[in-house]
């Protein structure tokens, strides 16, 4: 076994290190390199890709459940709206701000902001309903400037700028790729009607063919939003999501 010995210093080295430590301290007292952000009077300027409070746009949501499927913390629950569609709710008591939900949202309904300082009175309040996710929370802005850290050759320096940093990022949410559900093997359909039950857009319909005494399923590609729920649920696994032409 090889042992690492403690480094040997002679008295000259020791004196040198003492002097250097003390002189560095003295230098910092006279000319300190201050890196404290005086929050809330000023804020750190975060990059636009900051993973903060999540906003939701119901117009863009296709109720695909993707966000709630992907959430590793199980923070997103889908809740039925009066219209019969399902929209996400978000429990900030569980959320770990990985923003997988934002990244996976096909319609770009979820978007990130730079808001990171939200306070709640209790755990129940942290459960954010769909309606509360649409508008950003009320923020009392006391900041008169923002701070950026800059790394020059050896040290960190602060750059202070007057004015308020925009907390809602302007970056446009992803447009996604329009998809549509398509049956690839009609002969295997057993007409279980699962797709019809699961479709929130009313795009799947069934009609009875009196002559042949069978039920035919029909997907209306105009109504289909491409959420993929039927694809997931289909008992015979014959549905696919394909790009809309």
């Amino acid at each position: 076994m090889k042992k690492v010995a403690t480094p040997e210093y002679d008295i000259k080295d020791k004196l040198k290190y003492h002097v250097s430590a003390l002189s560095t301290a003295a230098k910092e007292v006279v000319m300190p390199l201050n890196i404290t952000t005086h929050y809330p009077r000023e804020r750190r300027k975060w990059p636009d890709c900051f993973r903060g409070y999540i906003l939701f746009d119901p117009e863009r949501c296709i109720s695909c459940f993707e966000c709630s499927f992907v959430c590793p913390a199980n923070a997103i629950w889908m809740k039925e709206a009066p219209s019969g569609r399902y929209y996400p709710t978000l429990d900030y008591g569980k959320c770990i701000f990985c923003h997988f939900c934002v990244d996976s949202c096909p319609g770009g309904a979820l978007r990130s902001t730079k808001i990171h300082d939200v306070a709640y009175k209790n755990m129940d309040e942290m459960f954010t309903h769909t309606e509360e996710m649409i508008e950003p929370p009320e923020i009392i802005r006391e900041d008169e400037g923002y701070v950026e850290y800059e790394i020059d050759k050896e040290d960190l320096t602060l750059k202070r700028t007057k004015g308020k940093d925009k907390l809602i990022v302007d970056v446009a949410p992803s447009q996604g790729v329009p998809m549509v559900s398509l049956c690839i093997d009609r002969g295997s359909c057993i007409a279980c009607k699962v797709c019809e039950k699961v479709c929130e857009s009313g795009a799947v319909s069934s009609l009875l063919d009196e002559a042949k005494m069978i039920i035919k399923m029909k997907i209306d590609s105009e109504k289909c939003t491409g959420c993929g729920l039927c694809v997931k649920e289909c008992s015979m696994q014959i549905l696919r999501l394909v790009r809309r032409e």
Partner: protein, 368 residues
């Protein structure tokens, strides 16, 4: 029956001479009650012991020294230190705010603690802190400002200072808590490690000055021949012993926050904690005053015009403050030694340094 006039005239014969205030004080001294009061305040022993550099200055130091320390160490570590309270004065009243908070906080005495000792020791600690100030000489050569002139002044001061750890041991014992016990034992270990070099160094200075009278000690440092120039080794050893004695970093072993969470004082809360918290600073102040007197020429310095003898006291307090600030700022520079390392330093390097300092003093005594 004490003759009040005799007392007053005794005081009047031994007044701090402040030329600037003379025209103001003269008419006031003639008034009956106010005159007595002013005569008492300006009576040298009273002035030194109670006002400067005694009790009142100690009180002010306790209020601003932690602030200075926190501010400067903050700058060293790229922080800002206290600031939210009174930001325009850079948070100078932080300690006032802290003490207000201490005052209104509940003092909790847990049921295993020894109730009366637990509460008494932080108060009793003022005895060994204030009594050494009885012999302090804040004057210069030929112009002593000392409450009690005694031929054994230095020995008495050292004896009283050596009493201080006993109170800390008492605090730890009365707390009846495992962290307090560990901290107390560490304090006891350190106590012996620094106390012996400390006493030997003071001895070296007594040998060098040929007297242990505090008046004689300052007289021996006339001009630029301060103690630190006559015997730098002794000054260095004294300083290290002082840092160890006050349990400051790098020797903050008994209180080590991260290991024993403030050691002997872990059970204190409220105003009792406030008192326990300033115990260290009180000791720092007394030891720095002793260092100023022994090594930095007491109150010697250019006379500030118009202030007369008051300027000596001011110089004395300034020097003490500088020593205090240097000592406090070691916190931002050094990490903490382990107990065994500190003991090795105490019983090894420091003891040797102290003995060499005695030899140096003997040689210097022969030369001079």
């Amino acid at each position: 029956m004490i003759d009040i006039n005799a007392v007053i005239s005794m005081m009047m014969n031994n007044q701090v001479d402040i030329p600037l205030l003379q025209p103001l004080l003269k008419p006031m001294l003639e008034m009956p009650l106010v005159g007595y009061l002013i005569a008492l305040v300006l009576w040298k022993p009273f002035f030194v012991l109670i006002l400067m550099p005694g009790f009142a200055t100690l009180g002010i130091m306790l209020l601003i020294l932690p602030w200075i320390e926190r501010k400067m160490v903050g700058r060293m570590q790229w922080r800002v230190g206290p600031r939210e309270i009174s930001p325009h004065t850079r948070g100078i009243i932080q300690l006032l705010a802290d003490s207000l908070r201490f005052l209104f906080q509940e003092v909790i005495i847990h049921k295993d603690a020894h109730r009366s000792y637990f509460l008494q020791f932080p108060f009793l600690y003022f005895i060994p802190v204030l009594l050494p100030l009885l012999f302090i000489n804040a004057g210069t050569a030929g112009n002593p400002l000392v409450p009690i002139v005694s031929d054994y002044g230095l020995q008495l001061m050292v004896a009283l200072i050596c009493l201080m750890p006993v109170f800390i041991l008492g605090v730890g014992w009365a707390s009846n808590n495992r962290f307090a016990f560990i901290g107390t034992v560490r304090e006891a270990f350190l106590y012996f490690a620094y106390e012996i070099p400390f006493i030997i160094v003071v001895l070296a200075m007594i040998v060098l000055y040929g007297t242990s009278n505090t008046v004689g000690v300052v007289n021996a440092q006339s001009g630029v021949w301060w103690g630190i120039i006559q015997n730098p080794l002794a000054a260095l050893t004294f300083f290290i012993a002082m840092v160890m004695a006050t349990a400051r970093l790098p020797f903050e072993i008994p209180e080590a926050d991260q290991e024993v969470s403030f050691g002997p004082f872990v059970e204190y809360s409220g105003i009792a904690f406030g008192l326990a918290y300033v115990m260290g600073y009180e000791k720092m102040y007394v030891l720095s005053a002793l260092m100023t007197m022994l090594f930095l020429g007491g109150g010697s310095g250019p006379v500030i015009p118009g202030l007369g003898e008051l300027s000596y006291a001011i110089w004395f307090v300034l020097k003490t403050l500088i020593v205090l600030v240097v000592m406090a700022n070691l916190r931002g520079v050094y990490p903490r030694y382990r107990l065994d390392q500190a003991l090795k330093i105490g019983w090894g390097a420091m003891l040797i340094l102290a003995l060499v300092a005695v030899a140096w003093s003997l040689v210097m005594g022969v030369i001079l």
